[in-house]
Amino acid sequence: MKIAFASGKGGTGKTTVAVNVAYILQQCGADVQLIDCDVEEPNAHLFLPHRIERTIPATVKRPVAAEDHCTGCGVCADYCEFNAITVFKNTVIIFPELCHGCGVCAWFCPERIITETDRPIGVIEGAMAKGIRFLQGRLNIGEVMAPPMIRQVKEQAQAAAVTLIDCPPGNSCPLIEAVRGVDLVILVSEPTPFGLYDLSLTVASLKELGLPAGVVVNRCNIGNDELYLFCHQENIPILAEIPHDRRIAESYSRGGLISEDLPEYRGLFASLWKNVLALIAGKGGQRPTDRGGTAA
């Protein structure tokens, strides 16, 4: 079973929920794997003491042209969707930072003078942390190609009873790559206009992908009821509500796990997981409550 944690807006609590669900499941004796796919700034490791046991380089293909044999035909530049290669008067200029490594330039070069080499873009790290199989991707500083990095991190995943994927924020290519192939997406949001707006974009993306989703409302006692109304209208179940509690913020700021530091919250994450299982089994989670009483 593969479950992703996404949000749209950053800083809503994706990682917090992911690491706590991982911890609760591990405590129940489950075989859990947690993959941090927020490769531009992975942070799940902050909450899971560990020692890196394996390191695998992540690479993308980089074209190299034998310029001396270039006829200047420009086919490579014409076919490059990303404008990463340009040709004039037998001069070939390649911009590796724009290259997606698709290989179309090498494939179509009539003179066969373009070859591809591997360009490192980051590392994939694996460890055991609190009994959880932990995997993360770290994109090198200055690199922008998150999707190939995320794809390679996911390729390193092992078979596990439960695989949890901590996604990057936003709704563009990195998120799409991170949620590819999961059974369900847990959307961690906050009941604020900003949280709702970005959540609505993610919900629209997931609809296109045909992926089922449930919402975890973090800091549920702030903001307004619009998020609940939206979930009701979209028929998206609320999986759990986490209150705005100073002790949670304190635990988080120390790199602690809520479910370890504040045992009274264990039940919350356990019931969240129960709702996830029910949703996957097609029984639906807890329905959105009637808190949004202003609906016409």
């Binding site: 420009g74 990303f82 340009t86 004039f88």
Partner: protein
């Protein structure tokens, strides 16, 4: 010598455009005869990234040795420099026409661009 000017519309008396990679079009003029022709840049305007790179390639392919624009980013600068195109800038606030810009260049009034004038936009 051919001079390329970034323009808002294809025409000798049209306003200069101060963006390079995503300029509406390029007016390429023969410095001696003042005969000009416009080159559309529609495809580049819609490019997801690297518009300046391909715009620079267009300028080089047109045989221009001089470019007059407002700003040139780092990647376009690299390509234009490799293609031996000299770059000059007009004040973005000056609202010059293509004809004015070419006249200013002929009189040596334009500042030559020695390095990218703006950060890259694509990513």
């Amino acid at each position: 010598m051919k001079i390329a000017v970034t323009a808002q519309n294809p025409g000798w008396t049209e306003l200069l455009m101060t963006r390079f990679g995503r300029a509406a079009c390029f007016v390429v003029v023969d410095g001696e005869t003042k005969e000009w022709q416009a080159v559309e840049n529609q495809q580049n305007r819609q490019a997801t990234q690297g518009a300046g790179i391909q715009a620079a390639r267009t300028i080089i392919e047109q045989g221009a040795e001089v470019l007059i624009s407002g700003n040139v980013g780092p990647k376009a600068f690299r390509v234009l420099q490799a293609g031996a195109v000299r770059m000059f800038r007009t004040d973005p606030a000056s609202q010059k026409t293509v004809a004015d810009a070419v006249a200013d260049w002929e009189q040596g009034k334009l500042e030559e661009i020695q390095a990218a004038t703006v950060e890259g936009h694509s990513i």
